[in-house]
């Protein structure tokens, strides 16, 4: 079972000047259920379309059973696709839709008959062969689309958000059926979705993607319990993501408090990101177990559990999920198990940009001119500009701004928001702020001269 059926090696793709996929490497084992998970625009569908053969990689190669797929046209690949909006042929009835692939292969008609009936039974649509596909409901059309793909006995089934157009109840039912189908057929499923819950439910392996890059690959349990960065922690499930400091091996501090943890190898006194899942913060009445105190500021019933927000004495806000509610305003004692603290290396400590000194007190980066102290530099020098997250000011107007951008992501860090702002030239600026902004907001960005620190660029940092 450990045989690799698909091997994606250093694949990149851009449309115009937009990099959709950047150096993707990934392998899929035979019989696995692999999910490509990520927000819209992360490149997951592009990758799937490359596997199907509708797109060619700009760089890199895709191997199937060790053979290069690049020059194999879609109709000769031994894989079939289930499309997001079904893509059934409206001029054919259910039977002819399913038989389409078999007829092209010149399969004898009695064999086609047998196979179509068998596959219709598998998707529980046995009495529908003569129906017009447009008279079927969304869920039924989806089943026919799946039947049409698997009747050809592909080695790999590609599914492009196949459940996105269905309502919640239907989606849950189909998830279970897909999982069973995967078991029964024993073929490889490669599934694309933006729904993290769907991915956790269905997959053997999840590939989390963002911004054209693979963020993390692992089993659902690995991904959930040990996210490698803030993006994964935030995208999969609910999280408290906090700034922390790794004091030494197995000892971390966050929310102004020291905790034991199980992580090692970060070094001593290193800034880190800490993730604690809301269900992993426990209430206690035993003062000996209490690690920190907090005050409940909201409590909402969520069906199975209660979701509470608490303010810690040190001024951080945390989300807690528990089966028992605690009244708003009450003082509670809390603790976190060392096992449940996930420590992650910080991806960056400040904004850094390669820049050019253009004159006395003038530098240029992000395609914009800024003023700042340039002692020790001469006009024409290349340097690195560093701006800490909290020194970038966001404005709701353009007039006084140095440049403009859109907020592409917001991360709540317990006492502040960490925003990613994409400038018009496609570069990211990270900002810490206490103000509330919305994703997608168009903002002006201002950086004061005293906030920019110049340093000699060691390795031509572009």
């Amino acid at each position: 079972m450990d045989e690799r059926i698909i091997d994606i090696k250093h694949v990149s793709k851009s449309f115009g000047d937009k990099n959709v996929l950047r150096d993707i490497s990934l392998y899929v084992k035979k019989g696995e259920f692999v999910t490509l998970l990520g927000p819209s625009g992360c490149g997951k569908t592009t990758l799937l379309r490359m596997l199907a053969g509708f797109l060619q990689p700009d760089e890199g190669e895709i191997l199937m059973d060790g053979k290069d797929l690049t020059l194999v046209p879609p109709h000769q690949r031994r894989l079939n696709t289930v499309f997001q909006r079904y893509a059934l042929f409206p001029h054919l009835d259910v039977y002819d839709n399913i038989a389409f692939g078999l007829k092209l292969k010149k399969t004898p008609s009695d064999e086609i008959d047998k196979k179509v009936r068998k596959v219709l039974k598998l998707v529980s649509m046995s009495d529908y062969e003569d129906r017009d596909v447009e008279s079927l409901s969304g869920g039924q059309q989806q089943r026919i689309a799946i039947a049409r793909a698997i009747v050809n006995q592909p080695e790999i089934l590609l599914l492009d958000e196949p459940l996105a157009a269905l309502d919640l109840k239907m989606r849950k039912d189909m998830q279970i059926e897909l999982k069973e189908m995967h078991k029964k057929l024993g073929i490889t499923f490669i599934y694309v979705t933006h729904d993290q819950e769907e991915a956790l439910t269905l997959s053997d392996t999840i590939v989390v993607m963002n911004d054209g890059k693979i963020q993390q690959t692992g089993t659902p349990i690995d991904i959930y319990n040990e996210p490698v960065n803030c993006f994964v922690a935030d995208f999969i499930g609910e999280s408290n993501i906090l700034n922390g400091r790794m004091l030494r091996d197995r000892r971390v501090s966050f929310i102004n408090q020291e905790f034991d943890c199980v992580d090692e190898g970060f070094g001593e006194d290193v800034p880190v990101d800490v993730v604690v899942r809301p269900e992993d913060i426990y209430f206690t009445t035993d003062p000996a177990r209490c690690q920190f105190k907090a005050k409940v500021n909201s409590c909402t019933f969520k069906g199975v559990h209660y979701e509470m927000w608490v303010d810690t004495e040190s001024g951080y806000e945390l989300m807690i999920q528990d089966y028992d509610p605690y009244p708003v305003g009450s003082e509670v004692m809390l603790y976190i198990d060392p096992d449940d603290i996930q420590v992650m290396k910080k991806e960056r400590l400040a904004n850094t940009y390669g820049c050019k000194v253009t004159g006395e007190g003038k530098v240029q980066f992000l395609d914009t001119d800024f003023e700042c102290g340039t002692e020790g530099f001469q006009s024409g020098d290349s340097a690195t500009a560093t701006i800490s997250f909290k020194d970038v000011e966001l404005l709701d107007h353009e007039e006084d701004a140095d440049l403009v951008g859109n907020i592409v992501s917001i991360l709540y860090m317990g006492d502040r928001y960490h925003l990613t702002v994409k400038t018009e030239t496609g570069e990211n600026i990270w900002v810490d702020t206490n103000d509330i902004w919305d994703k997608g907001d168009f903002v002006g960005i201002k950086i004061l001269p005293e906030s920019i620190r110049l340093s000699k660029s060691a390795e031509g940092n572009e």
Partner: protein, 268 residues
């Protein structure tokens, strides 16, 4: 007051309909009498119809060959235009952004261009290229002005289609040619048929373009034949039954199409 406006609006509608259909009804009525000059009623008679079908009228061979030419040119031109227009529509549909807009715009210009300008410019082009004018030039000219209408009819069908349908066919093992034949064309068929019918009627009643591109070999279509005939001293009386028949045939085709599409709508 209210009933007053209602009567008025009904009367207006009927007036418009009468104005629209009076000339056709007039010709139809006078096709059933023998009188040579239009407007004289000399009693009911089928002799004009008899003359038309028996060929016992002056210049009847000219008329018959004009009808044959018209049908032949219309058939060939609209068939070729349907083919070209469909391919062009698929190409335009797959273009992106600005290019697509420009191409759609370029496609629309020939449709609003006056026939007389199309005719004269084609005439000049053929002369410039030393094309001997005749069947070929007339058919080429008709293809030219029919193709944009096919594009216009096929494009909306393409945008109604599921964008993945072609890829789905490839995915299931169809070669690009098979995908085109078995999936794309059946989906576009209604648009292609309406484009064909529109082209056919446009070609049937074209006068200006035909007149300038038919050359001097004596090629006549129905419209040029009638034009020459009328200039020679009064219309041949047998044209009245011919026009009545053409009108009835077109009416029947239209009714058939409308009833069928109404039925299809009900079915889906």
């Amino acid at each position: 007051m209210k009933t007053g406006t209602r009567i008025l609006s009904k009367a207006y509608l009927w007036l418009i309909l009468v104005i629209l259909y009076a000339p056709i009804v007039f010709i139809a009525i006078f096709s059933f009498t023998e009188a040579k000059s239009l407007g004289n009623w000399t009693g009911f008679s089928l002799s004009l119809y008899k003359n038309l079908f028996m060929g016992s009228m002056q210049n009847s061979s000219g008329l018959i060959s004009a009808v044959e030419n018209t049908l032949l040119i219309a058939l060939v031109a609209s068939a070729v235009a349907t083919l070209l227009g469909t391919v062009a529509a698929i190409g335009i549909y797959n273009m992106k952004g600005r290019k697509k807009q420009v191409m759609s715009f370029l496609n629309n210009i020939p449709m609003v261009n006056p026939d007389i300008i199309t005719g004269v410019s084609l005439f000049l082009l053929f002369v410039f290229l030393h094309f001997s004018q005749g069947y070929l030039t007339v058919i080429l000219a008709h293809i030219t002005f029919c193709t944009p209408y096919v594009v216009l009819n096929v494009l909306p069908k393409l945008s109604q289609m599921d964008p993945n349908i072609y890829e789905a066919a490839l995915d299931l093992g169809a070669t690009p040619a098979q995908a085109l034949r078995k999936v794309l064309i059946p989906g576009l068929r209604p648009g292609m048929i309406s484009g064909f019918i529109l082209s056919f009627t446009m070609s049937l009643d074209d006068f200006a373009v035909t007149f300038f591109t038919r050359g001097t070999i004596g090629l006549d279509t129905l419209s040029t034949f009638i034009y020459t005939d009328a200039r020679k001293g009064g219309l041949t009386p047998e044209l009245k039954p011919l026009m009545t028949i053409i009108f009835l045939v077109i009416l029947a085709v239209l009714l058939f199409i409308n009833i069928r599409s109404a039925k299809n709508e009900k079915a889906s």
